[in-house]
Amino acid sequence: MPKISVTVNGTSYSHEVEGRLLLVHYLRDVLGLTGTHVGCDTSSCGACTIHLDGKSVKSCSLLAAQADGSSITTIEGLAPEGELHPLQVGFKEEHGLQCGFCTPGMIMCAADLLEHNSTPSEQEIREALEGNICRCTGYHNIVRAIQSASGQLETAAP
């Protein structure tokens, strides 16, 4: 069995894992980081999106072994304990989530977008979310949440 060493949300871990163990199952079942979700089998829905060495990837389509030596950030580690990332604030302020299942993947995907493009247009946001499916929001408020997090919206009055 491959032995892997990874840093997840700043903490180092070493485990022996089955070759076939998917990274998402490693995060959820071995490390107990259940904020990363599984919504499909085909690498389509994006609910499992995490950052691998700073880039957004779908953890359902990687083996845990492929991540050996990497640094991983999941939704639980996006902001320091007790604080919120601007995207997390944006999703709450703009009602960018309903059932919450796609939300971690959406936020992780959007975080990658904002890394590369700090003030994306509406169209750029919609295109950047092409690998993430939401069934609740019609994406309207997700787009607004990302606009808000990138400082492109007036803060909505409570």
Partner: protein, 788 residues
């Protein structure tokens, strides 16, 4: 009563756990000693099982147990709604076993359950089970399943007909009205089958505690109490008080998680058998095969008009596909949730629906967001827009000629339809006028004429819809065959320190009850929202409940909470009267204070709460405590309505359609949290537009679903939509204490026909006078329509 929270877009209190990755969905729960289940499913749509050999699988290391139909096939899940044939005979109700032992009836039918130490071993072992199938011809189309010689899904159901049914005026009267019509618009169409696709796949954990002889089922459900009732009383025969059902955070439902699924009972049985917790989480591939689908009607409909454009009659023949087995509410959807909405917003004097509900070799069909009402709306709104094109009348003018006049349901009576319902209140002209104003209708028609000269056609489509929500008055649904009452329960427990725990039988799986309900409680009691917590989803803490579907949570569940709040305030007044030495009639309650009228003598809500639990100086006739539970049974459905307008652009070269604008003016009665209501509308619009343009389950001739994954079934994505343009009209519901009507389904009900109408309008503007483009309106279908 204060006015700090109701009507305001309060940010959701539940969000923090979701945005930080700490939501707790069923698959996130790990119990000590947990095992994992995998279900072996039929790869065939229709086949006899000749034999099942589990020996190799059972011998595999790490396999805990294997169950087959031989062991549990005598258990089956029930249907919750009885509909009778036209002649009064009871519908055909063949068994739906937990695992089949004789014959599989759809792709994905469950054959064996493997329980193992890990999900990897469970799947490996399931693949080692050998099933010998004798493959039979399959039928997937409801209108073909009734034909002579069609494959028979159940031996006990001749011609695959579960029941036939009708509603409306006598057929002869409708025929006579249609014979008198100056113009008849007819439409042959399919309202295609959809997969609900809540993003969280279904997940269940069965647990049995042999010390206390108690069962716990964790389930991704929309209604834990209903699951407990059905599973205990109708499936497994377990004592209800020994069974706890928990619906923790649930990742969307849209109807698909209402039903009692076989796997819930299977993990419960397996947990008892193995003495260990058993978790089963479906894959997305399984979800496509086993989560109840929606829609699937094959319809021929005709609408007759007089020379003035007034509708004189509506005549419909529909075959509704129920799938291979009856799901919990499947029989109610094409009938009482569909036929009863065929009046629409129009004064149509004569209506007749002839409905045949049919078994096929397909996944069960049940309520999917809107449930019957989208099908009714689609039929009406397609017909009226098409009639306008055919008669050369503006589609908005044709609607105005036929709208029911405004009525408030208070000083004016409700509107009695020809299809059993009485609408509560409505102003249909108002929503259309506002929609047209937002659209800029005249300018649009000019723009459209210009576009017709280019490679991109423009079209506008209207949909003015009504739906019946707030499901439902128990007496009414009981008389229509429902095997349950559809009331709701709300308990309000004031703690000694004045904080408030509310227990609701509604279940939130995205709707934001923890916020909306808390807004109501905080305002009614005049306390801060953070002093209120809403509990839902656990039969152990919530006394009873019927769950969340049919846009009922606020109208029914919210009203039950209000009833309990009234009791809290009434008792609080008695306590205050005792303490302040006056009559309870002299106490008034406002802004969290009980005050002796006309004086400055008062006690706060917190004082009263403490006194209720520290009753040291209490009169004999006053009980300690401040905790009330109420059942609320509505007196009528609620009837939200609205106007949806789609503007589309059709690429003449490819047939690709782009939604350029989508305007929705909805009247859902009073609104507690506008932000949440808008969010509900947005999501509904995406699903409705998705049906029009993208989604649809497709079968091949052998009954395989050819698009059972996200690589083939087109889920709407962010780049499929523009920003939605929303506005609201408020016509309060006259018969519930909050004046609310419900907003969960409106977006999905109104939007689909608006988009199809817009595409047809675009095609007419280019000279292609087609009646319909079959949904989903793929580029190829639209392009083909333009080649005619």
């Amino acid at each position: 009563m204060s006015n700090k929270f109701i009507g305001k877009s309060i940010k959701r209190v539940e969000d923090k756990r979701f945005i930080t990755g700490h939501g707790r969905y069923t698959d996130d729960i790990v119990l000590p000693g947990m095992t994992y289940a995998y279900i072996l499913r039929s790869p065939y749509a229709h086949a006899n099982i000749k034999s099942i050999d589990t020996s190799e699988a059972a011998a595999m290391k790490g396999v805990v147990t294997i169950m087959t139909g031989e062991e549990v096939g005598h258990y089956g899940v029930p249907c919750g709604w009885q509909v009778n044939f036209k002649n009064g005979d009871i519908m055909k109700e063949p068994p739906h076993p937990l695992l089949v032992k004789d014959k599989v009836r759809h792709v994905g039918d469950a054959v064996a359950l493997v329980v193992a130490e890990s999900r990897e071993i469970a799947q490996d072992a399931a693949e080692a089970i050998i099933v010998d199938y004798e493959v039979l011809p399959a039928v997937t189309d409801a209108s073909k399943a009734v034909e002579a010689g069609a494959p028979q899904v159940h031996d006990s159901v001749p011609n695959n007909i579960c029941f036939d049914w009708e509603i409306g005026n006598p057929k002869a009267e409708v025929d006579e009205a249609m014979a008198s019509a100056a113009h008849i618009t007819s439409l042959d169409f399919v309202n295609q089958r959809l997969s609900p696709n809540a993003m969280e796949p279904r997940s269940y954990i069965g647990h049995y505690d042999n010390v206390y002889d108690r069962y716990t089922l964790y389930t991704s459900t929309q209604n834990p109490h209903l699951i407990r009732l059905l599973m205990c009383a109708f499936v497994l025969g377990l004592p209800e008080h020994k069974v706890r059902v928990v619906g923790p955070d649930v990742g969307g439902g849209f109807g698909s998680k209402i039903y009692h699924y076989t796997e819930e009972a299977l993990v419960t049985l397996a947990a008892k058998k193995t003495g260990r917790p058993v978790k089963w989480t479906e894959t997305r591939s399984e979800a496509f095969l086993t989560d109840a689908h929606g829609r699937d009607h094959v319809t021929f409909a005709e609408m007759g008009f007089d020379t003035e454009g007034k509708i004189v009659g509506l005549r419909i023949k529909t075959f509704a596909n129920l799938g291979a087995y009856l799901s919990t509410f499947s029989t109610a959807v094409p009938t009482y949730l569909h036929g009863t909405l065929l009046q629409g917003l129009y004064t149509t004097p004569k209506i007749h629906l002839d409905m045949t509900c049919v078994f096929t070799n397909t996944t069960a069909v049940d309520a999917y967001r809107g449930a019957g009402r989208p099908e009714a709306t689609f039929l009406l709104e397609r017909l009226i827009d098409l009639a306008a094109l055919e008669m050369g009348i503006d589609p908005t003018e044709l609607r105005l000629k036929n709208f029911i006049a405004p009525f408030d349901g208070v000083t004016q009576p409700g509107y009695q339809t020809n299809v059993a319902l009485q609408y509560d209140s409505g102003n249909y002209h108002g929503v259309l006028a506002r929609g047209l104003e937002m659209l800029g209708y005249e300018d649009f028609r000019k723009e459209q004429a210009e576009a017709a000269k280019t490679n991109k056609l423009l079209g506008v489509g209207f949909s003015t819809y009504i739906e019946a929500c707030g499901i439902a008055p128990s007496a009414v649904v009981g008389s229509l065959g429902a095997r349950a009452g559809l009331f709701e329960v709300g308990q309000v427990r004031v703690q000694p320190t004045g904080s408030v725990s509310v227990f609701t039988g509604a279940h939130s799986h995205g709707q934001g009850h923890e916020t909306t309900f808390a807004q109501i409680v905080a305002d009614r009691l005049g306390i801060p929202m953070e002093n209120v917590e809403i509990h839902h989803g656990d039969t152990e803490s919530v006394a009873f409940g019927m769950g969340t579907y049919g846009s009922r949570s606020l109208a029914v569940g919210g009203s039950a909470i209000v009833k309990s709040l009234d009791k809290i305030i009434e008792k609080g007044a008695k306590i205050a009267a005792h303490k302040l030495e006056c009559s309870p009639d002299d106490i008034e309650f406002a802004d969290g204070k009980f005050t002796v009228k006309g004086t400055d003598k008062s006690l706060t809500f917190g004082d009263i709460a403490l006194t209720a639990y520290v009753p040291h100086v209490y009169p004999a006739n006053l009980e300690p405590g401040l905790d009330f539970s109420s059942f609320y049974d509505p007196t009528n459905f609620t009837y939200p309505f609205g106007c949806h307008i789609a503007v589309v652009e059709v690429d003449k070269e490819t047939g690709a359609t782009k939604v350029k604008r989508f305007i929705a003016v909805d009247d859902v009665g009073n609104v507690i949290n506008p932000m949440i209501v808008d969010g509900q509308i947005h999501g509904g619009l995406a699903q409705g537009i998705g049906q029009a343009l993208l989604e649809g389950i497709e079968f091949d001739s052998t009954g395989q679903i050819i698009n059972a994954s996200y690589m083939d079934y087109a889920m709407p994505r962010a780049d499929d939509f523009p920003m939605f343009e929303l506005d609201r009209q408020v016509t309060p519901c006259p018969h519930n204490p909050l004046g609310v009507k419900g907003a969960g389904e409106a977006g999905c009900i109104g939007s689909t026909p608006a988009v199809v109408n817009a595409v047809v309008d675009a095609l007419w503007s280019g000279g292609h006078k087609v009646k319909d483009v079959r949904m989903p309106m793929t580029p190829e279908r639209v392009w083909t329509a333009m080649q005619s």
